[in-house]
Each structure stands twice: as structure tokens, then as C-alpha cells.
Symmetry: C2
Subunit: 584 residues, 2 copies
């Protein structure tokens, strides 16, 4: 059987930054060529970034992508890689783009192309378009109707894009019908907890259905709320794993494959699901047999806490860098949420770029101030203290506030303080809210919700504790100073906006709260099902009432790393002026 050395470039790209993404393709193609690759692949929509959202509907952007693709083909050839086929995702459009109501303007396509000999020799569009969860691809794209097959050194390589593998029918059976010896799927599949296991099973199943080796190339990095976790996989036709790449790590996965030679009677025409085979022959001559071979390897899997923590780090780092910032600013209360956010930030961009401000009020306890300062000592982040009492007194003197208005005022004074420092010094502010708080609206709009990014917005409070303990444990195992003060972990959570206040004055205990929230928010269960799962009806009703009425606050909360299948954001869209009460 012919050999082929495949280079799967598990890398990041930035939406819209076509020039930088093209540079990256050239850089990694050079690296792949240096490693002796015969076929090089890049993730879904590498050239434009993913997801491009409404940029897909902008003609000038689509044309920029098309032009950049042609220029990239020429540039690769000019730099000496003309004989090396490169598969790269980009944004295209159909040539038959007659405007029609219900069809995306300009008929854009989520496309990929094979670049070879200075030209675009084959192009195709994603066939199955996802339109659920965080995906809106019916809004943006028209589906592709070909089954691309490219012959490389005597091997027929079928191609597919992401959802083409997830849904039944289409390019997987078409690959078998086309008699291909290898199926490469290029992806930008967002991270979710435990999705890696699901993905592995999927890839194994599809390889068997396709009847050939399947190379699943994943993206790594972050784009706004989405994190891409890498974890590229190569599986044989028998479903056995040949190679598995590390999670959350940028790099080139190199693997040598023994693949069947192309059939002399390779099929043409229509195959499964109305797909028409689009076949291009680049090179018939197999590679001379060689050794040693690169086995691909099987990267160690991260344990669950490490995986989630790394996702939060990668998401934050991408957001800060892609927005052109170098430093972040965090209000440090001494509590566990801001401590965990600070630890993540230090891991993402370095403690020297993390600025913390303690903003005590007359209700702040001594231990809070001490815990904030200890956090700074442990991590080495930049720390200062600015009391809010003078501002508080000025407002109270003018307005004479009481109760909730007085509590919220303190939080908003801190938000204003952070934004003032941000404007003056150029850091972006991180919002410390967790998913439990956000779900029930236990936060102050324009107060602790202030920020450009909420790193733990999709992390329940019980997981905040878990991740804090994990991070400290990991530090201890490496012989480093655990970043988070033990007291921030063990003391009862409190907003400290009035004397003696603790979270449990207003909320159920977090383990109970989070269990109810997971059923309601993540699993869309109704009150009856939640009560049946073993919770007190009155408590459930009270909790759901809080969730039902907090949509407005959530709408104005900044974006944050998504780590679950269903958080708050574009995968959960509810009306604000909403009369539905689950508990009624």
C-alpha cells in the first residue's frame, strides 16, 4: 500500500484577520514541508477565522477571502511548496448567487480548497450545515453538493467539513461510494465538557462507515465565547485510533499512513445524498517506500478539572490578544470568584500583566482585605487598594439610599472605579461572575458585572471551588506556590454589601442550587421533572422564579468562555419581556 505522510495543523486563526491567517498557513506549511509531509491540512475556515457570523453576508469580506485564497496558492508555490497539496478552509460563495428571500445574501459557502501548483485546484462547500446550539449556519451559508476527492501520490483522498461527519448521510457514505482511501475532515468544533469522548466515538464510527482511514483535524484557540480544544484524531478503517493530538495545544500532528492505492475504476457521478463526485488528480505516482515512519502518537488525556481549567485559560488568552490588549484588570474582593479569575488570568497572560484592585467599603471584613493581598503575594500580580468610602459618602449625601439601592451602589462604585483605571491605564476589565450567580441574577448590573470578558461566566459555583482546589493542587505537585489563599476557598461566600451578609441569606446552598440550575438551564427540564429528581418544590419554584426574571441582567453581561453545551449566550436565547413562569 502507498505511504503518505500527513500534516494536520491544529492551529488557531482570528476571525477577519485574513492577512495574518494567510501568513500562518505559509508558516505551518513550511514547517510541514520540513517534516517531510506529502499532504497538509488546515482547519475549517482557517483563512477567515471561525465563526465569521454576519461577515459572511458582506460582499467585500467574501471577495477578500476569495482573493486571499488565490494569492495564498500563488505564494505557497512561490515559496517552493507548489508540489505539496494544501487543504485550507475559507469563505466562498456560489457563482449562482441570485438573490432570493430566505437565501443568505450573496450565497456564501463554508468552503475548503486544495491548493497545488500555485492554483486552487479543487474547492467545495460544507454539505451538512449545523443550526443549533451556538451554530447558525442556515443563516450564513448555502450547502455544498459535491463529494470532493483529490488524488495525491496515487491515493484518493475524500474531503469533508465538520458537521459533514456529525450528521447522518452525505459525505461519509459518499466517501465509501467514491472508493476513497482516506477521508480528511477539517473542523472548528467548539469545546464542551466531555465532548472529547463523544468526538472520539463519532470519528471511530464514521471511519468504519466510510470504509477508510479518517483524519479529523481540529482547531485550537478561542474566538469570543467559543474555545477550540484541539484533540485531532486519526482512526483506521477498522475504527482503531492511529493518532490523537494533545488538547489545548497548538501544533502540527504528523502521521505516516499506509493507504490503499486509488482504484482503476474509480466511480464518477452522483453518489449518496445527491452529492456529485468532484475528482481531481494531482499525482499518480506513489511515494517511494520509506522509513522510519512517524507513528502519530497518542497524547495523554487531561483529567476533567484540568481540561476545564485549560479551556478557561485558552479562552481568556485568545480574547485579550485578539482584541489587541496586553493586560487585564480585576477587582479583588478576597472571595473565591475573583481569586480564581486572577489565577486564570495569570496563567493566560502572565502575572506581570495582571492588575488587581482591592476596593474595600466599611462593610468589608479584615479577612477580605487580607485575602486579596495574599492572593497578590502568591501570584505576583500588580496590586493596589482604593477604598470606596469617599464616593459612597458623596452619593449617600445626595440621595439617601437604603436597602438594595445602597447595596448595589457599592458594587457600582467599584465598577466605575475599575473602568476609570482601565481607561487611564489601558487594561481590559474582567468580570468575576460565575454561572450560578448569573443564572439567578445575584449580581449588580453595572457593578460586579462590569467588564469586557467573564472568564468563569459558564462555571457553576461548586465548580469554582473545584477548579480553585485543582489549581492549588497542581501548583503544589509542581513545587510551586498555590495561587489561591486557602481562606478564600474555605470561608462562606459573601458579597459583603451589608453587615454580616452571606450568599445563603438569599440563595440555597450552592450544591443544591447548582444541581437545580443544571436541570433547568442546561437540560431544559420543567419544575415537575426537577422536583421528581429529589428537590423541595418550594425551593425549586423560588429558584426558577429567580432564573426566569434575570434574563435582562444576563443580556448585558459581557461574553465569557463557554464550557458547557448550554450556558448563557448565543446558545440560549430567551425573550426579556417574557411572561412564562415555569413554577406557576
Amino acid at each position: 500500500m502507498p505511504q503518505l505522510r500527513l500534516a494536520l495543523n491544529q492551529i488557531d486563526s482570528q476571525v477577519g484577520n485574513i492577512a495574518a491567517n494567510a501568513d500562518s498557513v505559509v508558516h505551518w506549511t513550511r514547517h510541514s514541508a520540513e517534516q517531510g509531509a506529502h499532504l497538509v491540512a488546515f482547519p475549517e475556515m482557517m483563512l477567515t477565522g471561525y465563526p465569521v457570523e454576519d461577515l459572511a453576508l458582506r460582499t467585500s469580506f467574501v471577495e477578500a477571502s476569495r482573493t486571499a485564497l488565490r494569492e495564498l496558492a500563488e505564494r505557497l508555490a512561490a515559496e517552493g511548496f507548489g508540489e505539496l497539496p494544501v487543504v485550507v478552509g475559507y469563505l466562498d460563495r456560489t457563482e449562482q448567487a441570485a438573490p432570493r428571500l430566505g437565501r443568505p445574501a450573496g450565497s456564501p459557502e463554508n468552503a475548503a480548497a486544495v491548493l497545488y501548483g500555485g492554483k486552487v485546484v479543487l474547492r467545495f462547500a460544507k454539505h451538512h450545515l449545523p443550526n443549533y446550539g451556538v451554530f447558525d449556519e442556515f443563516r450564513y451559508f448555502v450547502p455544498g453538493d459535491t463529494q470532493p476527492v483529490v488524488r495525491v501520490r496515487g491515493v484518493d483522498v475524500a474531503l469533508a467539513i465538520c458537521e459533514d461527519l456529525w450528521q447522518e448521510g452525505g459525505r461519509v457514505p459518499a466517501t465509501r461510494s467514491a472508493g476513497a482511501g482516506l477521508l480528511i475532515s477539517v473542523n472548528a468544533s467548539p469545546y464542551e465538557r466531555n465532548k472529547d469522548d463523544q468526538r472520539l466515538e463519532l470519528v471511530r464510527k464514521r471511519a468504519q462507515e466510510a470504509g477508510c482511514t479518517l483524519a479529523y483535524l481540529a482547531m485550537i484557540g478561542g474566538q469570543d465565547e467559543l474555545v477550540f480544544d484541539g484533540d485531532s484524531i486519526v482512526v483506521g478503517a477498522d475504527g482503531e485510533v492511529i493518532a490523537r493530538a494533545p488538547q489545548f495545544s497548538e501544533g502540527c500532528v504528523l502521521v505516516d499512513l499506509d493507504l490503499p492505492a486509488a482504484r482503476a475504476d474509480a466511480p464518477e457521478g452522483l453518489v449518496d445524498d445527491g452529492l456529485r463526485i468532484d475528482r481531481v488528480i494531482l499525482s499518480e505516482e506513489p511515494v517511494e517506500p520509506y522509513e522510519p515512519v512517524v507513528a502519530g502518537g497518542y497524547a495523554d488525556r487531561l483529567d476533567d478539572d484540568e481540561e476545564v481549567y485549560d479551556a478557561l485559560v485558552v479562552g481568556l488568552r485568545a480574547y485579550v490578544r485578539k482584541n489587541g490588549f496586553r493586560s487585564v484588570l480585576i477587582g479583588l474582593s478576597g472571595g473565591i470568584d475573583s481569586a480564581l479569575v486572577a489565577a486564570i488570568a495569570c496563567d493566560a497572560i502572565g502575572a506581570q500583566n495582571v492588575y488587581g484592585v482591592s476596593m474595600p467599603s466599611k462593610y468589608s471584613s479584615d479577612h477580605s482585605k487580607g485575602d486579596a493581598s495574599e492572593l497578590a503575594d502568591r501570584t505576583g500580580l500588580n496590586f493596589r487598594t482604593v477604598p470606596i468610602e469617599p464616593m459612597f459618602d458623596a452619593y449617600m449625601g445626595s440621595l439617601g439610599l437604603t436597602g438594595l439601592a445602597e447595596e448595589n451602589l457599592q458594587s457600582r462604585l467599584r465598577g466605575t472605579m475599575l473602568m476609570a483605571v482601565s481607561n487611564q491605564e489601558g487594561h481590559i476589565v474582567l468580570a468575576p461572575g460565575n454561572k450560578s450567580e448569573l443564572a439567578v441574577g445575584y449580581s449588580t448590573l453595572y457593578g460586579d458585572s462590569v467588564g469586557a470578558y467573564g472568564p468563569i461566566k459558564d462555571v457553576y459555583k461548586t465548580d469554582v471551588f473545584r477548579l480553585a482546589r485543582y489549581r492549588n493542587r497542581a501548583a503544589a505537585e509542581r513545587g510551586e506556590t498555590p495561587p489561591i489563599p486557602e481562606n478564600s476557598i474555605v470561608k462562606p461566600p459573601s458579597a459583603e454589601l451589608r453587615p454580616g451578609q452571606v450568599d445563603t441569606d438569599s440563595l440555597p446552598d450552592y450544591p443544591v442550587l447548582d444541581a437545580i440550575l443544571e436541570l433547568y438551564v442546561d437540560r431544559d427540564q420543567g419544575i415537575d421533572a426537577i422536583v421528581e429528581a429529589g428537590f423541595d418544590r418550594a425551593l425549586v419554584a423560588k429558584t426558577l422564579r429567580m432564573v426566569d426574571t434575570a434574563e435582562y441582567k444576563r443580556r448585558q453581561y459581557p461574553p465569557g468562555t463557554k464550557i458547557s453545551a448550554k450556558g448563557f449566550g448565543k446558545d440560549r436565547r430567551l425573550p426579556i419581556t417574557n411572561g412564562w413562569r415555569e413554577h406557576a
Copy 2:
């Protein structure tokens, strides 16, 4: 030809508030019966409200809608309306709801039913699902595959839902194939400027295609950012308008129609687009000939300014009421934006429920303070003054801010002030930002962007001036006091955050700015096309750069009434960490 008195109830409903919506159906059915109607119709998804968004994916909500529909049928019969067929939109699901990736969870349907004799006698789901602009119906619904026809007093009445009329094929030709004598389309079609003309032409064309009288029932009211403008239309098979209802006005459109008797050989089975005729016979006997007949009437059309102004009023009123509030709070700067917002608010909920606060700083001009106070005098809204100097001094004493940080601070102190008063007194805060400012990011996050709702968020500054003049003119014509001080209209716009500041320090003149923005934001034109339209390239580049980098601020701006086909909100979705620069 048999006669039929049709009652089209052009009314509002609230998403999720199923009990109240059901009450409303009973109320208006009683009214229709008292007016002698033979057939009664309600808008798309009347029972659940529209759009339900992700509530469609929640089993308990879908079941609540289904149950409420059955109970509504029984209740109508119990109240004596069993013999009166009622068409009502609701949320349903297919019975074949096998979970499958890519299919909305639970297979929900945007459905309508005919209630008669205490039962649901016919049900069907929307066939064409819109998934563009503000619509995401592929995310939420599975399409219907029947062509419903109900025989009422010897007349065959075909039914359709909204998009079924907008897209080619499907229920319009199927109505002709089914030989129906009347087509009723129930709608929840969001308002856009000038859409009424487009809608009229569509309805006339579709009536001719269907070969029968077409009754187009529109919703009126507001749901979050969407406004529904009413404007129900009845058109003969020849395309001539029989009746046209008022815009922005809730009520029952009553019209007597002469309609062809049902064909003896009425077709069955599959017709156009794979639709299967689903026919139900309620009553064969034609209504005894009667007179006088109700002609339907043709309501006067609003002129363009009045139409937009009314949309803003209806949208704000719906938002306040559906969120359970009675009063609003506005920061009054003396400028035209807050003055127009105050005028809209007074029209929406009454001046006695509108609270204004002037929050002068040391940079506030005397005329600003005077203009704010004059606005209060003219409208009768509740007015107070709270200077921000003490709070400003407290921050400056602690932080020593300069430049933009000092400017933004003032705006944020005002935002905090408004929220404090809101928390203390229970009003919801209105954000005064206009579309021009939002587009270029000329606003302070957590400052003037603070609020629950932005009434003029989709109104360009040049239109703000136009609407202010219109509102004053309309008052003068009615012999009332024009609400907006002349000086707020004629003085140069300024944020007054530093001495002598005017908007044109940072921005092009508004007529030029707005023309560029309309091409870029609303029409998706690229820089070359905009320059070709007659604008200076450097100016265009500077403007687009501002728009490209303001996405983050827009993301955290509160919702606001939508009056254009493309504003900022769910119909324009862009990444934040976006490297695309149109001007590069």
C-alpha cells in the same frame, strides 16, 4: 355567492403569558361574536406570544401551549361560542419527535388551529420557515407539510402562516390547487420602515396567485426589540384592496365578503410543494343572505415620521408594561436625544409616570440645565436636579484621572446615579443613545449606555432631529404645547464632558456620518462602494474603523425598538474579537 363576516383580531399578546393570552382570545372572540362574525382569526402564535425563542425547545412550555389550546376550545364552547370557528396561532410539536442531531429538540411547530364545537378540529404548522434578519425559525421549528382547508358555511377557507406568503411556492399555489374560496394568513410580521408598502404589494400578488380573496391578519404591539405595526389587509382575487386596518392600533377588523361556494369536486391528496390537503367540513349551509354589509374600510396611512414615531411609542410601552413596570427614569442633559426619549416616554405611558433627572457637572452649560428644565415644564414630567460634582471630586481625589478617563467618569457617575434612583424608587431607566452614536461607539459603556431599554437605539441622529420636529409640529397642529424645547433642537450637539466640547470634534457632520453608516451598516456596502457613492475616502475609512471596533460596546447596550431592516441587535451579529477592517 355565499356571504361570510370575517373578524380579524389585530391584537397584541405577550410571550409566555399563556393564561393572559387565552383570556384575550376569549375577550375578542366575544366581541367578534357580538359583531356577528362567522369566522374569527387571531395572529400567529397568539396563545404563546411571538417570538418565543428558546422557549420552543422547552418541553414544559410546549406542553403548556398544547394543553392551553384544548382548554381554550372547551372554554369558548362553554361561553357560547362553540358554533363560531376560531383560528388561533400557538406552539405545538410533531407527534413523531424522535431526537436527531440538527432537528430542534422536541420537534416544535409554529402552528395554528381551528377551534370549533369545544374541540381542536384542525391544526397545521408553518410551511416556510424564515431564518434571516431577526428570524431563526430553523433553530426552533420543524416545517408543516399539510395544506389546511376548513369549510365554513359552505365556503372553503385555506389557511397559512406568515412566511408561507413571503416565499415562493407552497401554500399560495396549494390554495389554488385546493380550490379554496378564501385564504387567511395569520402573521406576526415585525415592523420596518416602508415595509407596509412592500407588504401590500405582496398580499395583492399572492391573492392573484391563490386565485381567491386573501385576508392578511397582522399582529400589533411589541416584544423586546420587535414592534408589530398592525396594518391587516384584505384583498380580492383580482388584487384589489377590500379592507385595510389602521397601523399601530389594536382592534377587530370586521369585513363582509362574498365568496364562492365550495366546489363539489374539491381536490384531495398531494398538491404543490409536497403539501397534502387536510380538509375539515364544519358547516355546509351558507349564511342566509344579509345586509347591510360591513365594507371593511381603508384606514388612513400614517406619514413616514408619524409611522416611525408611533413605532417607537408602541415598542417602549410594550417593553415597560410587559416587564411589569409603571414608570421610567431618564437622565435629562438638555440635549435632543434625551428630550426625544422623554417625549416618546410621555406619549407611551403618560408624563405622570416619567421621571427626569438633570445631573449637571462643572462642564454643563447654563443652557443645558435650562433646556432640561424647560422640557419638564413643557411635558409635565417629574423633574429633579442632582449635581455630580461631589462624586466627581471623590473619584478624582482617589484616582487623579485625565483625558478620556475623566470624561467617561462623569458619564458613569450619572449612570450610577440613575440606577440608584431606579433601585430606590422602582422606575426602569431608559438609555438615550441613538444609532449614529452606537454605530461609531461614541458613548460611554456603563455611562450613558445605562438602561433597560434604548427607545431610539435604531434611529440615526438626523432622524432624531426629524422626529423631534415632527412631534413638536404635531403638537402645534393639535393646539398642544410642543414637548421639545426649540433650543434642544437647534444647538450644536455636545456631550459636555470637557470645556467647549461638541460632537463634531470627534465625528463627521451628522448628515454625512449617517449617510455613510446607512451604506455600511444597513446595506452592507464595502468601502469602495461607499466612496463611489460620493464620500471622501479618508473620512469613510475613519468612520468604518470606528464602526468595526465598537462591537463590544454595542453588545452590552440594552435592547431598543427596531425600526429598520438592519440595526444593532439580533439581526446583526458580528464577532467581537474581529480582525476584519473594511478600510484596510
